[in-house]
Structure formats: structure tokens, C-alpha cells
């Protein structure tokens, strides 16, 4: 049997290569002189330029731009507040598709005012970019780092830690109470997934189509899910398919941590872009919203023999700590593409966590009235606390 199989695989290999060779040949011909002008038209080039982020310093505006169209484009002039303004473009004004550049405009912008900027290409097309509220972009200084770390601590670490302090009370719950709580966690997490993915698809609409942002979002989603599922499969030996309580708690904390990284990213960047006023209401909203995440983390380990304070602290740090990292990334290197990717990764991680929680249970168990009620309540709690964030 081995001989014919080998013969076949050589034939199969040739069969696999033939279409590839034809394809390469066709592409080469399309770019050759013979085919030049085959599909050419007299239409003007299709130009698209997008501003990925801006950086404001003292009397200087920087724009990081990308040629998001299929044709080369040349940035010829720049207008600020309706007036032509001196500027430089590095490394070059002539951008090939997907090439990025930085436009630096020395301009006396005023704190708190909106600034409209227009990029004029060599063909006379204009691309507008609006800075909603001008405010200096923080440089990476010790002061700025500690400031955004504080923001992350308030929005991510403290709320999760507060949630964990329910632990002694939750340990005293009965069997059905525990089931309710586990499924409440599922409801909480389901809300985070729904929220993140809708936000992701909304953000994707703002991004240049050439980035295929929806596909990128799903790549992050599937990648995170596959990665965490693989980790779980490899490490949960001996317990069958369902993860042990402690193991599950770490998974939940990791999933929530990744989610909070994305949340920190959004908060840090919105703050820097002047799109967010961090009033007491907003911080309170995030605190309430994220406190419930603490419950999700501890619910799998309520039946473990002892509480282990160190473990609780570790879980809290894993779930809440990444918020600080997210705030830093958001504040100092923000791009909407990053934000999109992290929304996808966060959602994929949480879906995996939900799967791990429900994986050890039968469908009958999950659909018991008390558990269904738990899921519904969890979802509604997140919805309600989310209103506080949305209203701020």
C-alpha cells in the first residue's frame, strides 16, 4: 500500500503546483508591457487619505496619515481652520497605497478649541480631519505615566478588588445560590462580548476599508479564542474536559484582564483626544461596572478548600492590572486599529471563558430556572451599570 500512495502523492504535488504556476504566470503577464493599458482608463486616480491619529505639542500639530486608496497620492498643501498653513511631510509627500507619513504643522492652536484640518492632494481633492477639543498630547514622562496609571487603577484595579471582597460572603452561599452566581457570571461576560463586538463593528466603520477592519476584528476574536482554548486543553489534564475551579478562575481573570486592556486603551485614548471628560460620574460608572467582574472571577473557587489571600490578589491583579497597561498604550501610542484589535481579542478571550465555565455542565443544568435567572440578572446588571458610563 505504501508504494502506490507515494506515487500518488508525487502526482498530487504536481497537480497542486500547476494552478499556482498558471496563477503566477498570469499575474506576471498582467504587470508586463504586453498587458499594460489593458484595463487602463482615463479616469482620475481614486484617492483616499486617512488620519490615524494626531499629536498636539506646544504650537505644533502632528498628523499620522495613511494613503488608504488603491492609487498613489501626493499631499500638496494643508489648510488649518480654513487657511493655508506652512507644514512639512515626512518622509515624503508622495504616498504609495498603504504608505504612512507624518504631517507636521506649526500652528498656534488654542487649548480647548476644535481644530479643522484639510489635506489637499495634487489633484485638488480634500480630506478633512477634525480635532474635537485641542489639548496637549502627553509625552512619556514620569508624571504622565503615573497619572494614567492612577486612571487605570481607579477604572480597573480598585473595582475588581472591591468585587473580590464579596468572597467571604459568597463562600457561605448554598448550592443553588452558587449555581445562580456562576450563571450570573456567564450573563456578565456575555454582556461584555456583545458590547465589545458591537463597539468593534461600529469602530470598524470609521476605519479605512483597505484595512478590512471587520476581518481584523474577527481575526483578533478567533485568535484569542483559539489561543486560550489551546492553553486550556493542554493544561487541564486528568480532569476530563471541564476545568478545575482554580484553573477556571485564572482563565476568567485572564479573559477579563484582556478585556480590561482594551477598555483601558479606549479610555486613555479618548481622554487624550479630548473626547472624554473624566468626571466623578464616569469613574463611578466604571467602578460599578467593573466591580461585578470581581464576582465572575471568584465564583469558580467558592468551593475550594481555602481562600488563599495571595491567590485572590493575584487573580485581581491579572484581571485589573492590564487596565493600567491599556491606559498607557491608549494615551501614548493610540491608533484606532489597535483599539479595534483589542476589542476583538477581549471578546474572543471572554467567549472562551464562557465556554470553559459552561463546559463542565449539562444543558439541562444550565437551563434550570435559577441559573437562567442568574444569567439574565448578570446581563441586566452590566446593562444598568453601563448606562452610567454611557450617560457621562
Amino acid at each position: 500500500m505504501a508504494e502506490p500512495r507515494q506515487g500518488m502523492s508525487a502526482g498530487v504535488a504536481i497537480l497542486a503546483v500547476v494552478p499556482l504556476v498558471l496563477l503566477v504566470g498570469l499575474i506576471a503577464w498582467l504587470f508586463s508591457d504586453g498587458a499594460e493599458g489593458l484595463f487602463a482608463t482615463d479616469l482620475p486616480p481614486v484617492e483616499a487619505v486617512d488620519v490615524m491619529r494626531h499629536v498636539l505639542e506646544g504650537d505644533v500639530i502632528h498628523l499620522d496619515i495613511v494613503n488608504s486608496g488603491p492609487d498613489p497620492t501626493t499631499i500638496a498643501q494643508v489648510m488649518v481652520r480654513g487657511a493655508f498653513w506652512y507644514h512639512e511631510v515626512t518622509p515624503t509627500r508622495e504616498l504609495t497605497p498603504l504608505q504612512t507619513a507624518r504631517v507636521t504643522i506649526p500652528f498656534p492652536w488654542n487649548e480647548g478649541e476644535p481644530v479643522e484640518i484639510v489635506l489637499l492632494t495634487s489633484t485638488g481633492l480634500t480630506f478633512d480631519y477634525g480635532i474635537e477639543v485641542a489639548t496637549a498630547t502627553p509625552g512619556i514622562t514620569a508624571r504622565a505615566l503615573s497619572r494614567f496609571a492612577m486612571l487605570g487603577i481607579f477604572v480597573g484595579v480598585i473595582p475588581v478588588a472591591l468585587g473580590l471582597t464579596w468572597f467571604p460572603f459568597l463562600r457561605r452561599l448554598g448550592r443553588s445560590g452558587l449555581g445562580f452566581l456562576i450563571h450570573l457570571t456567564v450573563g456578565l461576560l456575555a454582556f461584555l462580548v456583545v458590547d465589545a463586538m458591537f463597539e468593534g463593528f461600529e469602530a470598524a466603520r470609521e476605519l479605512p476599508g483597505i484595512y478590512q477592519p471587520q476581518a481584523l476584528l474577527l481575526l483578533g476574536f478567533v485568535g484569542a479564542w483559539a489561543f486560550l482554548s489551546g492553553i486550556q486543553l493542554r493544561s487541564s489534564s486528568g480532569h476530563g474536559a471541564s476545568a478545575g475551579g482554580a484553573h477556571l478562575a485564572w482563565l476568567v481573570a485572564l479573559g477579563i484582564g484582556i478585556h480590561n486592556l482594551g477598555e483601558g486603551l479606549a479610555i486613555g485614548s479618548a481622554y487624550v483626544l479630548g473626547e472624554l471628560t473624566l468626571g466623578a460620574l464616569l469613574v463611578a460608572g466604571f467602578t460599578l461596572h467593573n466591580a461585578t467582574e470581581g464576582i465572575a472571577i471568584v465564583s469558580p473557587i467558592l468551593r475550594e478548600p481555602d481562600g488563599q489571600l495571595a491567590r485572590l490578589i493575584g487573580l485581581g491583579a491579572l484581571a485589573g492590572g492590564p487596565t493600567i497597561l491599556g491606559c498607557w498604550i491608549g494615551a501614548f501610542t493610540y491608533s484606532q486599529v489597535w483599539a479595534l484589535l483589542f476589542l476583538g481579542i477581549g471578546a474572543g478571550a471572554i467567549v472562551q471563558v464562557i465556554g470553559a465555565i459552561l463546559g463542565g455542565r449539562t444543558l439541562r443544568e444550565t437551563l434550570a430556572p435559577v441559573n437562567l435567572a442568574g444569567m439574565l440578572v448578570g446581563y441586566l446588571v452590566m446593562y444598568g451599570t453601563g448606562l452610567l458610563v454611557g450617560a457621562a
Binding site: V60, Q77, A83, S122, T123, I140, G223, F227
Partner: protein, 355 residues
Amino acid sequence: MRRMGEQGRKTLGMAMAIAGTGALAAAVAFVLSTGGGAVASTEHGMSGDMLVGLDGLDLTPYRNTTVGDVGTERFDPDAYLTEELESTTETLEDGTVLRIFEVEAVNKEIEIAPGVFFPAWTYNGQVPGPTLRANEGERIRIHFTNLGDRPHSMHFHGFHPFEMDGAMLKQQVPPNGTFVYEFEADPVGVHLYHCHATPITQHIHNGLYGLWIVDPKGGRPPARELYMMMNGFDPNFDEENEIYAVNTVAFHYARHPIEVRQNELIRIYLANITEFDLINSFHVHATFFDYYPTGTQPEPRDYTDTIIQGQGERGIVEVRFPHPGDFMFHAHKTEFAERGWMGLFRVIPDEGGDG
């Protein structure tokens, strides 16, 4: 999965972890390639030149200008200031001078600001079209050829018979067609000619216009004479001008000041053809001028430093600069000035002057 052995599960787990890692690494690498990893710049200001003002003030953020310069091989705004279209003359039997011009309508790409190109419709390959100038009472004949790909015409302001009006649909000259316009140079003054084909806003905006000047018998007093056409461009077709100028090129005379002599009489033939905006205006610094609307009357109507013109209005500005130095002239609609309609007179000291 339930029936999978421990080894199978571990292998699958490893494969999934690797696949997930690969997917995430690809995504991160892609985001980094988009410039998403750029770190906030901490370097301050610009490379190279720092401009210093009074008391050491850093002027770099205050430069309201386009960047670069426009090539003058296609169209030279400095030449336009003083050039008229060449003509040939004959004397008719009754002693009248017959003045003959040749004009072609032709499509041509022009540069309206450094690096910004506009597919214009032109007379003789330039925007504004060439200045046509004649003496009062002369017979004018224009051989017009349409080399464009749309019907065009020449409609002159002034007295002429119906057949020479160039305005009605049936008077439009088809592509590759010709027409001979003939009429008397009348009345005296500074006027316009422009295409009257439909849609007229597009035909005018795209560049089909120019000055038509009729000098009085015996001429005007000697002066340094300049032609200025206030115009605007809407290169992105949103029916709003992005670029304003006199004589097409934004900020040209700010980069290349017009040199004049202290106290010399300067006569500016000024017209406004700007589309989309209701008015345009002309303001000059550090002096006042006599203004002759349409140039039809011997006496000035106004003595001022700012006048307004609607579209199609024109007039003669007679001005002297008593002080040497660089003096701005610009639209006092400052929005237009910021978008290119700003220039400089460089006043050279007269010998024995106050310079």
C-alpha cells in the same frame, strides 16, 4: 472531544495555541505596519529654519502660506500683470483701424497652488485668458477656434450686435468649430470677456474669462499699468472655493512681490470673476487710491483703500505709495486672503525720497 485520549487532547491544544498565537501575531504585525505603533513625538518644533520676530518671538507657528512654489513655465503671473494679446491692424477704407486677434479655447492642466493641479478650460492655454486691449472706435475682429471638447464661446461686455453676443445656445461654437466676432471697441473702460456656454458656472470657473480693455482716444495719463483678475478655484467640486488669488496662483505675489517705485503712479485694471462667492474685495496697505468703477468716467468715484466687487464688476485703481517697503494687498474678506488672495507691493525708494 470527550472521547479524545489525553495525548490527542494535548496535541490539539498545542495546535490551537499555536494557531491562535499565529493569528494574533499576524494581527499585531499588521497593526504595527499601519503606523499604529508610532510613539508620541517628543521632539519639538520643526527641522531647520526658525523664524525670529520682535523680542525673539518664535514665528514658526504663524506662517499662513502654501508650501513650495509654482512652476512658471506653464503660466507666469508676473508676465500676466503687463502682457496683452498681440494683434495685427489694418486701416479700412473709411480710415477706421481694424484690429485682429486670434483666440483658441483649449483644455490645459494648470497649477493653482504649489503641487495642486487643475484641469482647466482656457483661452490660449492660460487662466485668466489673455488681456485684449484696443482703442476707442477701432473695429475689432476675433478669430475664435474651439479646440476644446465642449461648445464654447466668447461673450464680450460692451456694445455689439445680437449676432456677436456669444451668449445664446445657438451661438455656441462646437468643438473644432470657428467663429469670427466683429464689433466696435465701445465703450471706454475695463471690461470682461468670458464663455457663455452652459453650464455657465462651470465654463467660467474652469477658466474661460479674461480682461477686455478699451482705451479712450488719446489714452490715459502715463502710469505703471497692471492687470489683476480676482479669481477662485474649487478643485474638489464641492461648489465652494478652496483657493483664491489674483491671477490664479495662490500667494504668488506674496512669494514674488510686485516691484514699484515710490510715488510713481500705478494703474491697476481690476476685475472680479470669482464663482460661488457673492463678493470679492481689494484692499491695499499704507496708501489710498482713486477708484474708477468700470473705468468709464474721467473722474474717480471714490478715494479709499478698500473696494468691493461682485462677480463681473471691474474698475480702475490709481494709486501711489508714498513710503518705501513691503506692503500687502489682499481681499479684505480675510477668509479669501488666508486661502491665497494676498500679495505684496515692494516699493523701491525714489532718489531723494524718505527711504
